[in-house]
């Protein structure tokens, strides 16, 4: 240990009262910083990891059919899950949503709840894990095959005036808008958590699918929650990457065309017959019989190649049928077509292709995705004239742009599917704004308090060093160099701030424990959202703790350095004569 360090440590012990008071100030500063940072991090943690994950998720994939009535459904959930898993890094959990907003009727009381379907096999699901069931059990809800069951949070159970074993009636709309109802037995009641969580009720996913009239592969959305949310804005980049990976292909059906003469397999595509696209298809085929303009008005119209029409033995005006095997159904799908025109293909690739009206195509394709879809190059010159697997909506940055996007969508009459990738910045911007505001208010308050305390610390430190000017003069008189003088004081303050920060940290953790012990019963006050099970939630982060210590040490170091350097520069005689 160098002499300078020894002197510094000895000085710390020698001036007990002064150093203890100074140390207390520093410890309080550290304590306040750590406490406030932990509190704001706690709020961020609650909002991002306990509210948003269930409310909107960090990233969502949603699909809507029929833009006017807005049927929200993803027909092939596994396909999109796979793409998401391949393209989004750092996914903590990914799941498909099956649920609905339902009107719930208990014992003479009603309320609205969000009823979600939980996979039977997934008892380790984070949602289940974080729930504290106080009556009944999750297993009684999810593994019960004898009856339709439901799990509620205590607040909802109270609102409905129901107890374990009672029944509740639910009314909801299926994804297609049909009215549905059910009687469910309450088999689990969990401890209330927050306003958001209390609105949620859960039941077996397979039973919820029956209620919602959804098939096994269908869901209303895919939700992704990230593992690490220290940088929430990173989800935007991830969503952009996923969006790029979700570019749709041309929609097509490999089907059998059936006429009196026989059955032939060919590829069906939906052709947009507006003027804009007319020039496109004229490059590839010439109309040889019938009127292609009829394809725009005849909802079951089909445009066939001459060669295929000969094989089928049909002419314009004739009726034929098409049949295909849907991807998720056991029975074939059949529909009627009316030949409106024949074409001579300039390229042989189109001889085995038929083009149909958007209406008949959309009515079949989107509700019953084909098992076999023909490939059609996306960069083919004719591609813009054909219907896509879905319309991929542009990414938006905030909720206003997001809402406008959907407003604009409602103006159209598109019967097919629309796919959207969104982040919590669009779907739950209110919660994020709330987080910003709370963080800002917290930081502003602590900044003011910190500055006030810091001024006191700076002044005390400065005065303490100035008071010791004669000591500096004595040290200089016996031969101590200027640099050693500075080093002694700097080391002394450094050790003092280090010890003070450690003490402040211990006090801060003690206070966090103390404050967390109180239970706040705010009823239905929205502020319950900021509590976890009625308790304040602190999340101390190492980076912020180290940062706080660094700030205090740095400030102390600077004050000690400049003040002691000024004193060390004085002549020995002046320093010895100095009097405060």
């Amino acid at each position: 240990m160098s002499v300078v360090t020894k002197i510094s440590l000895r000085n710390l012990i020698r001036q007990k009262r002064r150093n203890i008071l100074l140390g207390i100030c520093m410890a309080v500063s550290m304590c306040i910083l750590v406490l406030v940072f932990a509190f704001t991090s706690g709020i961020t943690d609650i909002l991002f990891n306990k509210v948003l994950v269930y409310m909107s998720g960090h990233i969502r994939i949603e699909m809507t059919e029929n833009t006017n009535s807005f049927k929200q459904i993803i027909r092939d959930t596994d396909h999109f899950m796979r793409i998401a898993e391949e393209n989004v890094e750092g996914i903590g959990e990914i799941y498909s949503e099956v649920g609905a907003f339902v009107r719930c009727l208990g014992n003479g009381k009603t309320t609205n709840v969000v009823l979600i379907g939980m996979p039977v096999e997934d008892l380790e699901d984070p949602f289940i894990q974080q729930m504290k069931v106080v009556e009944g059990s999750v297993e009684d809800v999810l593994l019960n095959t004898e009856e339709d069951t439901i799990g509620l949070f205590q607040q909802t159970a109270d609102d409905l005036n129901v107890k374990l074993g009672d029944t509740v009636k639910v009314r909801l709309n299926t994804f297609s808008g049909q009215v549905q109802s059910a009687v469910l037995t309450v088999r689990a009641i969990a401890e209330s958590q927050s306003m958001f969580m209390d609105m949620v009720a859960f039941m077996r996913e397979d039973r919820s699918r029956v209620l919602l009239n959804m098939r096994e592969q269908e869901s209303i959305g895919i939700v992704m929650n990230m593992k690490n949310m220290e940088n929430p804005a990173s989800v935007i980049e991830k969503a952009d990457k996923l969006h790029a990976a979700l570019k749709p292909d041309i929609a097509g059906i490999t089907a059998s065309l059936i006429s009196a003469k026989g059955e032939f397999e060919l590829d069906l595509f939906a052709l947009k017959t507006d003027e804009e696209n007319e020039a496109l298809y004229e490059d590839f085929f010439v109309i040889s019989a019938g009127d292609i303009s009829e394809l725009a008005t005849q909802e079951t119209g089909v445009l066939l190649s001459e060669q295929k029409a000969r094989e089928l033995g049909v002419v314009p005006g004739d009726t034929l049928y098409f049949r295909y095997r849907p991807r998720f159904d056991e029975t074939d799908r059949t529909d009627e077509l009316k030949v409106v025109a024949l074409f001579t293909a300039k390229s042989p690739e189109f001889n085995n292709t038929a083009f149909v009206h958007e209406e008949v195509f959309c009515n079949n394709y989107f509700g019953y995705l084909p098992e076999v879809e023909p490939a059609f190059a996306k960069d083919h010159p004719l591609a813009p004239a054909l219907v896509l697997q879905y319309i991929l909506l542009e990414r938006t940055g905030d909720s206003d742009a997001y809402m406008k996007k959907y407003q604009d969508l409602r103006k159209g009459e598109w019967k097919g599917a629309v796919l959207d990738v969104s982040t919590m910045y669009e779907t739950a911007s209110m919660v994020i704004s709330l987080q910003y505001v709370l963080n800002f208010v917290g930081m502003a308050a602590v900044a003011i308090l910190f500055v006030v305390i810091l001024i006191g610390v700076i002044n005390t430190l400065r005065m303490s060093i100035r008071e010791r000017t004669r000591e500096i003069g004595t040290n200089r008189a016996i031969g101590m160099q200027k640099v050693d003088i500075v080093n002694t004081f700097v080391s002394e303050i450094f050790f003092l701030s280090l010890i003070s920060c450690a003490v402040g940290l211990v006090i801060a953790f003690g206070l966090m424990q103390f404050f967390s012990m109180f239970t706040f019963d705010l009823g239905k006050n929205p502020l319950t959202m900021l509590l976890v099970e009625g308790h304040l939630h602190f999340v101390p982060r190492i980076s912020l703790i180290l940062g706080s210590g660094f700030i205090i040490t740095c400030i102390s170091f600077c004050i000690a350095f400049f003040t002691s350097r000024k004193a060390s520069k004085m002549s020995v005689a002046d320093a010895l004569r100095h009097y405060e």
Binding site: N66, L105, S181
Partner: protein, 260 residues
């Protein structure tokens, strides 16, 4: 002459014996088509509408509006006249697009079919005229026979057909309905609506039919919520006119002007 009498007598006996076949029940599709014909306006309509909505936890709320409907393209315009917080708000469908107008902000907003009107249980989609024959077919019993029963309704013993219909399409609100339709004019008097799981959700009564320009219009309609007992809505029509409505009525400026 005797031969003629004999022939008539034989015919009468046959009629008596096999009357039930000669006066057979109409088929389900015939009844549905007849209902569609009755409900088909084939004329523009203007009416004042009063909706009395009773909810268990909210008490009674009265909504009033003026309803304009153009037959040609199903366009409609609704202007709220009561209560005060809804007064001046409007809903416009020009056949392709549906808009909601808010008087306070003087803004139009694109809405979908699921948008409710004035906070009532009625939605924009309910205002669209869709034919029963396109939405429903008559249900069949185990023997494959259409469920159509002759019975009487109410204390007045009105002779009716009771028919059970099930949805042909998926985007219809109620997948199953039981309807009581008068036997003479095929006027719908009562409808029980069931959920997908078969639970009775709503009972609707249509009474006080009046003839306006050859059309039967129910002036009083009552919708009883069977899911939440105690909730109900009564719709009363008055000031009905089937005169042609000018096209400018179904425009945004007109709605804006009416709301001032």
């Amino acid at each position: 002459m005797n031969k003629l009498y004999k022939r008539i007598a034989v015919k009468l006996v046959f009629s008596f014996l096999f009357g039930s076949t000669l006066w057979a029940l109409p088929t389900g599709s015939q009844i549905l088509a007849a209902i569609d014909r009755q409900q088909e306006m084939s004329a523009d309509i203007t009416a004042k509408v009063k909706i009395t909505q009773q909810k268990v936890d909210q008490g009674v709320r009265i909504l009033q509006c003026v309803f304009y409907r153009r037959d040609r393209d199903d366009a409609f315009l609704i202007v709220m006249t009561a209560p005060d917080n809804e007064k001046g708000n409007g809903y416009l469908s020009d056949g392709d697009n549906m808009y909601m107008y808010r008087r306070n902000t003087r803004t139009f907003q694109h809405v979908g079919r699921d948008e409710n009107i004035g906070g009532s249980d009625a939605s924009m989609g309910d205002m669209e005229s869709r034919k029963y024959t396109e939405l429903y077919r008559v249900a069949k019993d185990a023997a494959g026979k259409e469920i159509i029963v002759e019975e009487t309704l109410g204390s007045a013993n009105i002779p009716v057909y009771r028919i059970e219909v099930i949805a042909k399409v998926s985007d219809v609100k109620y997948p199953k309905q039981v309807m009581w339709v008068t036997r003479d004019k095929y006027l719908v008097l009562k409808v029980d609506s069931y959920s997908l799981s078969g639970t009775l959700m709503e009972t609707a009564y249509f009474t006080q039919y009046t003839v306006i320009q050859g059309r039967y219009i129910p002036l009083w309609q009552k919708f009883i919520d069977r899911f939440e007992e105690g909730n109900m809505s009564i719709v009363e029509l008055s000031g009905i006119s089937l005169n042609r409505i000018d096209d400018y009525v179904f425009t945004k400026p007109y709605l804006e002007n009416l709301s001032k």
